[in-house]
Symmetry: C2
């Protein structure tokens, strides 16, 4: 882990004299691509951004806490999950670079969150408090539009995932996952993918064995 830390330190030193400038640049790039905000707007947006580093396994949000931010992932991979009575984890989603994460429900209602969010890898994120975020949405129509477009896409993706639960077997769900998130397969432990798909790690292991047979019959 300190190996990675050293590496990124060097990178930062090369790329930019200031670590956080470098980080915000990724965020700026994202916003410019996704919306029509002006450079002035960007200044206003950055003014309310908080930068945060997470180490692998560190919580961003813990069940029972109230979530008060919107979180943009600059680097790393996070998961949102619950733990049931038997201690089984159920992963609601993964989030990597250029995704947003958080608990919309807790943010909206102010109730304690039912979810945990933690880092699967060392991560760097940008946090904006709800208050500031709402302000940005009010002040900058283009920002508001972007936010709604993201929500819209999230909803559509969510519906599509529900459909996989309704209609696909364990194997088919895994194949669909491979298609949709090939990058994640490399980054995320298999057992967590199983949890995301709603099957046990053992089942996913067997499913993989089966389908590798099928694809290479010799």
């Amino acid at each position: 882990m300190y190996k990675a830390g050293l590496f990124s330190l060097i990178l930062h030193a090369i790329a930019s004299p200031s670590k956080s400038n470098n980080v915000f640049e990724a965020f700026r790039k994202y916003i410019r691509e996704k919306s029509n905000v002006t450079e002035e707007d960007l200044v206003q947006i950055e003014a309310v951004c908080q930068y945060k580093k997470l180490r692998k396994r560190q919580y961003l949000l813990q069940e029972g806490d109230v979530w008060k931010y919107n979180a943009f992932i600059v680097k790393g991979c996070l998961r949102t999950y619950t733990v049931d009575d038997k201690g089984n984890e159920h992963i609601l989603n993964f989030a990597t670079e250029n995704w947003w994460t958080g608990d919309r429900e807790s943010l909206q209602t102010g109730n304690p969150s039912a979810y945990n969010i933690d880092a699967l890898e060392d991560a760097e994120i940008i946090l904006i408090t709800k208050t500031n975020f709402d302000q940005l949405c009010n002040d900058i129509p283009a920002f508001n539009d972007m936010v709604n477009a993201i929500l819209q896409r999230s909803f559509i993706a969510s519906q599509s995932r529900i459909h996989t639960f309704l209609s696909l077997s364990a194997e088919e769900k895994y194949q669909a996952f491979l298609q949709k998130y090939p990058q994640l397969v490399m980054r995320v432990p298999q057992g967590m993918i199983a949890s995301y798909l709603g099957v046990t790690p053992e089942t996913l292991s067997r499913v993989r064995k089966q389908s590798s047979k099928g694809h290479r019959p010799s």
Copy 2:
């Protein structure tokens, strides 16, 4: 079926000289409750509303068609579903009075829809074309806010449903459904609830039998 038609004809004659005024009144009430639009705004909104009746089993949207509206349900119950290779139906959602329905994905992308939407009962709905709807969102901030709040709630509900698939057994899913949508249990054939829960009608029937034993042990 013509019995119901006659009945509602009489009701309309009593309640209002104009059938569609009566219908729009329900819509107006909804909008007033959910947003801060002015009465002027309401006039603008109603100006682009289309009224439509659906008979039981009639399609609102058929797989392969492009969806171009937002649909508000004044009366009746609709379902969104797909049919797989084996002819099995998979119900993504039900929608009743004061809900919106449609296919956001097709609406957004302009691609043919993967879903079917049809009426489980005779229904009355209000349609607003995407173009007009977007215009309303632009012209009336309060309307835009309402729409986003609805989307937000839909997303949260959607996440919650995903969680049920990840963590609950057939019986638990059914119990959760009873809790969340007691009205629907009365209105929707049991086999369709099974389809919504992602189990077969036979399994749901057995699950019900089991849990009725459990609750009344004598």
